[in-house]
C-alpha cells in the first residue's frame, strides 16, 4: 500500500465518495473501508502518530512501524492475528449501514431494524473500545440502544440480546425497555402524481440525491415524479416521492425556481405536494426541468454529482447481496 504524507499520513487509497465509506474514528487515526471494494485492509488517515502508534499494529501488523517511520510504500503481511481489525470492520460497516443503507421497495432492499442496528453497533464498538478516539464511545452508543425483545426466531439475535444486557450492566447504563415494533410497512410502489380532474401538460421524473435527505426518509431507488397540470384554467406543479422506512422531517422540492412543500400524503402513502405556477414553466428548456427533492434544515438543494447514478446502483446491489449473507453483520443479514 502506498503511504502519502501531507498534514496527515494517508495509508492506501482513501475512498472518495462519502456514501461508500465505512469509517471508524480511532485515537490519532481514522480507518476507512470502501464498502464496494471488499478488501480486508482499510485505508488510514493518521493525524496523531503518537496516539495511533498504540494500536495501528492491530491493523497493519509489522507494517505499522514503517507507516509511522516514513516509508512511502508498505507491504501489509497477509498472515497475522486480525481479530481486532475485523472487529473494526464490523463496527465501521454498521456506521455505514446506519447512514447509507439504501432501503427501497422498488429495488427490493428491505429496511434494517433500527433496534438490532443500535444493539449490534454498541457491541461492535465495545469490542474495539481500546483504540477508539472517544473514550466514552460505548456509553454513548448504549444511550441509543433499546432492549432487544427475546426470544427471537434467530439464535444470533438472542446471543446479541444477551451480550447487550451484560454490556449495559458493565457500564452501568439502564437500557430503554423494548417497544412494540413500530416499523410501518413501506408505501405501495403504485401511487404518485395523478392528474385527476386535470390535463397533464408535461411530466417527468428525477432521482433523489441521497445527500439531500436524511437516511431512510425516501425510497433509495424510486424516482421523484413531477407533472405540470392544467386544471380549471390554472397551472399547477404536482410532485410526489416514495417514502422510505423511516419517518423524517418535512421534505420540499425545487423545480426551476419553483419551491414545493411535500406536506401531503396520497392514498398509496406517497409524499405529495403541489404549487401554482405560471404557464411560463412550460417554456423551461428540458435541461432545466429538473426536480430536486431535499429536506430543508438538513441540506440545501445542490447540483447532483454526475457519477452518483452508477455508484448508487452499485450500492443498492451490494446491499441486496448482504441480506442473508453469512459474512454480513447480523443487522444486514436480518433486514426484512
Amino acid at each position: 500500500m502506498k503511504v502519502t504524507r501531507a498534514s496527515d499520513v494517508v495509508v492506501g487509497d482513501w475512498p472518495t465518495s462519502p456514501e461508500v465509506v465505512a469509517l471508524i474514528e480511532g485515537a490519532g487515526a481514522s480507518l476507512a473501508w470502501d464498502v464496494l471494494a471488499d478488501t480486508a485492509v482499510p485505508a488510514a488517515r493518521v493525524h496523531d502518530p503518537e496516539r495511533a502508534a498504540e494500536w495501528l499494529w492491530e491493523v497493519y501488523g509489522d507494517a505499522a512501524e514503517a507507516v509511522l517511520g516514513g516509508a512511502s510504500e508498505v507491504e501489509v503481511p497477509a498472515d497475522g492475528d486480525w481479530r481486532v481489525r475485523d472487529a473494526c470492520r464490523r463496527a465501521a460497516q454498521l456506521e455505514w449501514a446506519r447512514a447509507w443503507w439504501p432501503a427501497s421497495v422498488t429495488a427490493g432492499v428491505p429496511a434494517l431494524d433500527p433496534v438490532v442496528l443500535h444493539v449490534e453497533r454498541a457491541v461492535a464498538l465495545s469490542t474495539v473500545e481500546h483504540l477508539l478516539d472517544d473514550p466514552d464511545a460505548v456509553e454513548r452508543a448504549l444511550a441509543s440502544v433499546v432492549s432487544l425483545a427475546v426470544p427471537t426466531s434467530d439464535p444470533e439475535l438472542d446471543a446479541l440480546a444477551g451480550r447487550i444486557a451484560a454490556l449495559a450492566e458493565d457500564y452501568g447504563v439502564e437500557l430503554r425497555p423494548a417497544e412494540a415494533p413500530t416499523r410501518s410497512g413501506f408505501a405501495l410502489a403504485a401511487g404518485g402524481v395523478d392528474a385527476a380532474g386535470g390535463v397533464t401538460a408535461l411530466s417527468g421524473a428525477s432521482t433523489v440525491d441521497w445527500t439531500l435527505v436524511p437516511h431512510g426518509v425516501v425510497d433509495a431507488s424510486a424516482p421523484a415524479r413531477w407533472a405540470v397540470v392544467r386544471r380549471q384554467g390554472r397551472t399547477v406543479l404536482e410532485v410526489s416521492v416514495v417514502p422510505g422506512p423511516t419517518p423524517g422531517p418535512r421534505l420540499a422540492a425545487r423545480f426551476g425556481d419553483v419551491e414545493v412543500a411535500l406536506d401531503g400524503v396520497d392514498a398509496a402513502g406517497w409524499l405529495i405536494g403541489s404549487s401554482p405556477v405560471s404557464a411560463a414553466v412550460l417554456l423551461l428548456p428540458p435541461d432545466r426541468r429538473v426536480l430536486t427533492v431535499y429536506a430543508p434544515g438538513f441540506a440545501e438543494p445542490a447540483a447532483p454529482d454526475p457519477d452518483a447514478g452508477p455508484r448508487r446502483a452499485a450500492i443498492i446491489s451490494y446491499a441486496r447481496s448482504r441480506i442473508g449473507s453469512p459474512t454480513a453483520t447480523t443487522t444486514e443479514r436480518t433486514a426484512r
Binding site: S7, D8, P18, V21, L23, E25, S30, H47, D48, E50, A53, E54, W55, L56, W57, E58, D62, A64, E65, R83, V84, A87, E95, R98, A99, W100, V123, S126, T127, V128, E129, H130, L131, L132, D133, D134, P135, E139, R140, A143, E169, D170, Y171, G172, E174, W210, T211, P214, H215, V217, T246, P247, G248, P249, R250, P296, G297, F298, A299, E300
Partner: protein, 418 residues
C-alpha cells in the same frame, strides 16, 4: 515479531501481548477482542501496575526495546493480583445486581476498589459476599455531600444570612488590579502550546503558573462584552452570583450566571465525581470564594488552562495562527475533520436553526465545557499538570463535537415525530 528488532515498540502491542498471557482469568477486565478495557488501562494498569510517573520508560507511546521485557514481566508478575481483581469485579457486579443498584459506571466506581481487595485479600473467599456488600455500602451509601444536604444547608435560615454576607464580602473585595502592562507583555502561552501535545515543557508551565498568566488573562473579563464573547455569561459583564436554591441538570445557565448551588449541583449528582469531595459547608464556602476569583476558579493552574484553551481555540474557525503540531493547529485539524465525518455519517449539512448557534459558537461552547471540567477537577483536588494539559484541551473539543452530533441527531428525530 519480525527479525529486524526495532529500537522502540508500541506500548499498546506490549501490553496486549502481556495481557493475552494472563488468559481467561482477566476476561472481566477485557473487551471482546481480549484487550484490556480502556478503564482497565486508565484506572488499574497505568496508576497501579505500570506507574509511568515513577517509571517513565513505561509511559504510553513508544517503549524502548530494552525496556520491553521489563514491561511485559511487570504485567505478568501482577497476573495473580489482576486475576483476583477481575474476580472481585465479578463479585461486586453480582452484589450490585442483587441490590438493584444502578447508579454510576461500575468500572469507574469499583475497579480500584477491586484492586485494593485483590491486594489485601487475594481471590474472593467464603466471605466475599459480605466484603462486597461492605464495599457497595461505602461507595453508594457514602455519608458524603449530597444535593439534598446542599439544599438544606443553603436554605436553612441560620446559614443563609451568613452565606449571603460572605458572597457580598468576597465580591466587594477590591479586585487585584489589572496589570497595566500592554497585552504583549503578558507571559506568552505560545511556546508552551507549541509543544504541549507531544513534549510538554514542565518548566515553561511552572513559569506560567508562577507568573500568574492565568489570572492576568482574566483581567479583561469585567469589561463589557468580554466574558460574554467567551461564552461564559449571557450578560454584558459578570455579576455576583446568587446563592440559589435548586438546579436542573438540563437547563443550567452559563457558568458565570450559575448560582452557588448550581455550580455544585452536577459534581454532587455524579457518584464517581462525588468521591473525595469536602463536606457541604466547606464546599459552599469555598465555592463562594472561588466565584470571586479570576475566571471564577480557585487554582492558578486551572486559570492558566482556561487561558491556554482560549488561546489554542482562537483560530478554530479563523485564519490559522499556531505552527504545525501546536495545540492550536491540532484543535483546528480536529474541527476540520468533523466536517468530513459529518458527510460520511450523513449528518445535516445545513444545520437546523436550533443548533445553528451552537455550531457557529463552537469556541464559546468549548470554553464553557473547559471551565466546567476545570471547576470539577478543582472540587476533587485533581489539579491539571503540564502533562495533562493537551488531553484536557483536546478532550474538551472532542466532547463538544460529539455532543453536537448527538444533538443534531435528536433534532432530526424530533422533527420526524412532529
Amino acid at each position: 515479531m519480525s527479525t529486524v528488532r526495532a529500537a522502540t515498540l508500541p506500548r499498546g502491542a506490549l501490553v496486549a501481548r502481556a495481557w493475552a498471557g494472563l488468559g481467561a482469568a482477566v476476561a472481566p477486565l477485557s473487551n471482546a477482542a481480549g484487550r484490556p478495557l480502556t478503564r482497565t488501562v486508565k484506572l488499574i494498569l497505568d496508576p497501579l501496575v505500570l506507574r509511568p510517573v515513577l517509571n517513565p520508560e513505561f509511559a504510553s507511546g513508544a517503549v524502548a526495546a530494552e525496556h520491553a521485557d521489563a514491561l511485559t514481566s511487570r504485567i505478568a508478575d501482577a497476573g495473580p493480583v489482576l486475576a483476583a481483581t477481575a474476580s472481585w469485579f465479578t463479585v461486586l457486579k453480582k452484589e450490585r445486581r442483587r441490590r438493584w443498584i444502578t447508579d454510576g459506571n461500575p468500572q469507574d466506581l469499583y475497579f480500584q476498589r477491586c484492586f485494593e481487595l485483590a491486594t489485601g485479600h487475594g481471590e474472593p473467599g467464603p466471605d466475599a459476599a459480605d466484603v462486597a456488600a461492605a464495599v457497595l455500602e461505602e461507595v453508594h451509601g457514602r455519608a458524603g455531600p449530597t444535593v439534598a444536604a446542599l439544599r438544606d444547608f443553603v436554605t436553612d435560615p441560620a446559614n443563609a444570612a451568613e452565606l449571603t454576607r460572605l458572597l457580598d464580602t468576597a465580591w466587594d473585595a477590591p479586585r487585584p488590579p489589572a496589570p497595566a502592562l500592554p497585552a504583549p507583555a503578558l507571559p506568552a502561552t505560545a511556546p508552551f502550546l507549541a509543544t504541549c501535545a507531544v513534549t510538554p515543557d514542565r518548566a515553561l508551565f511552572a513559569a506560567l503558573v508562577a507568573g500568574s498568566a492565568g489570572s492576568a488573562g482574566a483581567a479583561d473579563l469585567d469589561r463589557p462584552g468580554v466574558a460574554l464573547a467567551h461564552g461564559l455569561t449571557s450578560r454584558d459583564r459578570p455579576v455576583r452570583p446568587e446563592l440559589g436554591r435548586g438546579a436542573s441538570k438540563a437547563n443550567l445557565p452559563r457558568p458565570f450566571d450559575r448560582s452557588i448551588v448550581e455550580r455544585l449541583f452536577a459534581p454532587l449528582t455524579n457518584a464517581f465525581q462525588r468521591e473525595g469531595l469536602a463536606d457541604v459547608p466547606t464546599l459552599v464556602r469555598r465555592e463562594i470564594t472561588r466565584s470571586a476569583g479570576p475566571w471564577q476558579l480557585a487554582d492558578e493552574e486551572s486559570r492558566l488552562v482556561v487561558v491556554l484553551g482560549r488561546d489554542a481555540s482562537a483560530d478554530l474557525a479563523g485564519p490559522p495562527v499556531g505552527g504545525p503540531g501546536s495545540a492550536a493547529a491540532r484543535l483546528r485539524s480536529r474541527w476540520e475533520r468533523e466536517a468530513y465525518v459529518h458527510r460520511v455519517l450523513r449528518m445535516p449539512s445545513a444545520a437546523p436553526p436550533e443548533v445553528r448557534a451552537d455550531v457557529r459558537g463552537v469556541r464559546e461552547a468549548y470554553l464553557r465545557r473547559l471551565w466546567v471540567r476545570l471547576h470539577g477537577r478543582e472540587l476533587r483536588h485533581d489539579t491539571v499538570t503540564s502533562d495533562q494539559v493537551w488531553d484536557v484541551l483536546d478532550g474538551v473539543l472532542r466532547s463538544v463535537i460529539l455532543d453536537q452530533r448527538d444533538r443534531l441527531r435528536s433534532v432530526l428525530e424530533r422533527e420526524a415525530v412532529a
